[in-house]
Symmetry: C2
Subunit: 164 residues, 2 copies
DNA sequence: CGGCGCGCGTTATATTATTACATTCCGTCC
DNA sequence: GGACGGAATGTAATAATATAACGCGCGCCG
């Protein structure tokens, strides 16, 4: 069973976050092993850093974070790792924030949608199933062939709404 | 009656584009008059430039475009005009492209969704009604209060799919 | 062993956007 | 009409995000 969640989307403040990180890294190892991809030290480290919390990470903050570690701190270092992780489906880019979050794989198939809380700055990933269908219908009506869906919703998560 | 459209979304190649521009500017004038906003020369010019075609405009391309016109060509000039037009609801920002398109107001109420053709680089704005409902349901289940919806779909429009 | 491809380092530069402050324009109030 | 005040614009500098181009080293595979 996963950790307790507020309605299955945003993790409860008390959740065992180390476990999120461990699971994410283990999942990444599995994926890379299965698909013959190389989870190099830099790539693994960037993935860990992204999973430091449930807030989206900015590329240049990741760069800052690896200062002092034995990696280059020039921008291409982190952008290359991000590209790899994006291609591997291990992270997502949040377009409206120019930032990156770990893929929590709860959506499994289909395009996810993202809930972005402007209170705590966390992002939750939901299965975009119903939304995807509605998009498909609208696109079909317009004679449009869908490649990729970007669905990013800003607002307040349950916890932050209670605080307000 | 509006110009002939391909399924009501992407304008036909033959459409009277000057008319799009004239309508957009007239609408902007109306909106600004109604709400006591000032459609200054720069703002009007930027709006016209954005309506030059149905492709999204980049901020620095707009800046280039006003070279030689009696406006400052420093970035804040165009960003301020864009902010004004965004606030007034006269244009939209396409997050996944860092670019701006004219609001065609066909959506009327509710959040629009955008179809972005990777063939011709045009963007169509659709009413996001069905999608918005699906988003609302998913958000409610997650205990999330929605402020703003960003729905951007990439793919191929009818015309470009036929070409392929 | 030789070549090839991938990952990484490095430098430079491109692209997108904002901050801060000075100046000008314009309507309002006296 | 003149003084004030707020909005709009000009200007210079800089911040934030992202990519291009090139070379090196290492492991794999013939």
């Amino acid at each position: 069973m996963p950790e307790p969640m507020q309605n299955g989307a945003f993790p409860a403040p008390s959740h065992d976050h180390d476990r999120c990180v461990r699971q994410a890294v283990a999942h990444a190892e599995q994926v890379c092993a299965d698909r013959d991809l190389r989870l190099t030290p830099i790539r693994r480290r960037v993935l860990e850093l992204i999973w430091t919390n449930h807030q989206p990470s900015k590329a240049y903050d990741l760069l800052e974070a690896i200062r002092g570690e034995p990696f280059s701190t020039a921008p291409p270092t982190v952008y290359r790792a991000l590209d790899f992780l994006l291609d591997a489906g291990l992270i997502h880019r949040i377009e409206s924030l120019n930032a990156y979050v770990g893929c929590d794989a709860r959506h499994v198939a289909g395009s996810p949608m993202f809930l972005i809380c402007r209170g705590c700055d966390r992002v939750a990933e939901l299965p975009g199933t119903g939304v995807g269908k509605a998009i498909g219908r609208a696109a079909k009506r317009a004679g449009f062939a869908v490649d990729q869906e970007t669905v990013e919703i800003s607002g307040l998560c349950g916890g932050c709404a209670d605080d307000a």
